[in-house]
Subunit: 256 residues, 4 copies
């Protein structure tokens, strides 16, 4: 079954985007990204160490010719800061497809939505293709879509919390109204969380901690690959109706 | 990774057992079983039509040399009835590995646990390998294990309801105490339900309606195959801890 | 509104039964029972200290002329033990209305259902009015009702766990089929848990730890009194239907 | 126990605010408000019929000397419209304490948060005391508090949906950070929902449909009164810890 994910005109076969934080090593990170079947990896632009040539660098392991790099603005707390960061990154690396996040505070790492919208508009006017981390408020998700974002990335729950999809109603409402890809970003903790996000009709899932902080990140990456496929196929296949009472499976089946 | 499921001394690579009821046709049933990657199919022994040679028969499609047939006693409401049914089946078809279910009533299709235990003891004494459909009561699950059942099959929720795992605490308690395989039987409605069962540490999942009553049973079968793998690998990989507040993924990652 | 709870022919105005374990003192226990508006208190018969006349005794505080004493068999692990304990209690104190619990093991404190049914039958034959702690299996609940128990007391979750009602479907099924009072026993942790039990149609709630282990047991007892009333009235009042989309409250209201 | 709710300097004993929509009659509305023990009722200012002197009017039944009227801007879709509506209302009726809601669309009735914040600032500058209906985004809730709103009123779920508190984590985060009263507005369907909102530490609950659309609105109003008290007392009393395994209540209690 051909069921590609198309973001900003480019086609991907994987619906699982992975991060590049919290891994024990770049090697482990690369192995996990491969086990996840990921085609896109997201990378924080802040605190980039360009100065120490003796240190290992991510790109030697998670190779840009193997994965699409999706630079993100994690750690930016204002629209200005995010826009400036991405402009610098474009000059340095040529990245045009970016993940915008403008955070509100360190306790929640929730997005500051007005700053996010401001930054999105500025970046889009500047020619960027903007995938945008946002709250699960369908109203703001619509504004971001109307501003021209190429993917809406609502949070499932707190970044790094592993609490799963707190509000499936909001995710459903966002999916129903959105014509660009909807990718749950933040909160997924388990394969069943990832499957649930996809069963709600999301087009993809982005995760970092669920893989990086598992006891065996490589195996969890594989688990998540299967979970995203499972949820996607389950969504397309159309689930059985729920029932209040039992309904026999077997009586009509004949053995021989 | 080699991670076989061993039931009654025989090794399986798939942890998903599928049913043979409610499908539009035997052909669809066979296609779904293959898409699910199933090695075992369960078949109801009651109301077996042996008499009409002109009608299609299941075994022409879901072939016994391709799948392990697991005869079940769906539709039996007493220990006697279940035991008698399985003895006849063994004489006819040689099946020794069986799935025992003794139902209490048509509204819930819940097991009658005392009758189930009585039947299990009789069958085990008679040389059967008994996989047993049971309530999610860990106390009774222990009695069935001590009686010699080769797999404990607690219900997730009502048969055919698609309500998922109603009581994960009970499934967890059963998993913790049981040394033979624990296979959730009944209630799974979605891939995420199946993944969740496996994440609780179950050794497998049996389902019928979730696949057969999906809009596209073949695609749902594939979804469930991936979901069971996802949940199994997720369990083995060890999930990240849940957190009450946010935890940043990205700040430590360097881009270049 | 007159809405009494009738157990074994006797009428009660309160639907909240409280325990007598884990309190800091008998005085606190009595104060909590009063704050809860309880008319029935349950008391464990095992390890009764009859021998030390210098020690405080429960009945000086939680007075038998103020509360109906409901002796229970907590700590009994066989039918024999439970029956013997209750016979002794009846000889000593004249109690005929009893709460039967036959436990399976110390880790779960779940009931041993076959032993419970055996004990119930013996006690009923012996003239006792038996309220019975049981699993949430509707099939066994029916057997206990048919055996003549005067109240069915399914567990919401593990005793002392505060996990709430794990399986509302099973509680609903028990409520629908049962003609004697159904009283959730074990698992309630919060007022909302207690309200939920009552909203499912239960006739009452029994709790101990949720009150005794609260930071302020007296205030929690009052909270639970209100919660049980809230849930009962909510059940009788008939809840609004759930909706998938918004439905305006206000537009039709005129101000002046 | 004295535990008043103070909003904009005024003290209330009830923590339950009720609406004035969807009732069968103004008489029923008034009876429900009394059964709820409400001191504040909220009334939509839009579509106010001032012109037909022959028709019954709300104030003849839900009397302004018996209840504090809280005018709301339900049906307003822009900041301008909401501000204008409230200014007219102040001129006409003298209301200074108001409930601001600026809606985004009819399908969700979710707030348009940027318009809401704009309106809140304008109204506060204009001397209004603004209680504000908002999303459950803690970041925006903080902005509204910093703008000077006198109560933060996050939605539990869709208006009129009865789905309860979809995201308890967000409500908890809002409660933890907010120094003015937090009042859940929208979504409550059952007494247990209301209790849960209060157990999260909210200062009050506003509801309309849960009462008005119950089969017996007067009885449901009473249920909700008890539920809010239950949840409040439960919050103050401090819940027992949750446990993974059983913990016996009874063994230490002595009978006589």
């Amino acid at each position: 079954m051909s069921d590609p994910l198309i973001i900003a005109g480019k086609t991907y076969n994987s619906r699982l985007i992975v991060g590049t934080g919290k891994y024990a090593s770049y090697q482990q990170n690369a192995d996990a990204a491969r086990a996840a079947g990921a085609e896109i990896v997201t990378v924080a632009l802040r605190r980039v160490n360009l100065s120490d040539p003796g240190k290992e660098i991510l790109t030697d392991f998670v190779k840009p010719d193997e994965f699409t790099y999706l630079p993100n603005t994690a750690g930016c707390y204002t629209a200005d800061e995010a826009v400036r960061t991405l402009r610098l990154a474009r000059e340095a690396g040529g990245w045009n497809l970016v993940k915008l996040e403008v955070l509100a505070d360190q306790k929640t790492l929730y997005p500051n939505m007005p700053e996010t919208l401001t930054a999105a508009k500025a970046l889009i006017a500047d020619g960027f293709e903007v995938m945008v981390y946002c709250s699960d408020d369908p109203v703001y998700a619509k504004m971001l879509e109307e501003a021209g974002c190429c993917a809406i990335m609502p949070l499932g729950s707190l970044i790094g919390s592993g609490l799963g999809i707190m509000n499936p109603v909001n995710i459903r409402l966002i999916v129903e109204q959105t014509r660009v890809p909807v990718i749950v970003d933040a909160g997924v903790g388990t394969p069943s969380d990832a499957a649930m996000a996809m069963e709600l009709g999301c087009d993809g899932v982005l995760m970092n901690t669920a893989i990086a902080a598992a006891k065996d990140p490589i195996l969890m990456a594989s688990a998540m690959k299967h979970a995203v496929i499972a949820g996607r196929e389950g969504y397309l296949a159309g689930r059985m109706p729920k029932k209040m009472y039992a309904d026999p499976s077997s009586p009509l089946a004949g053995l021989i």
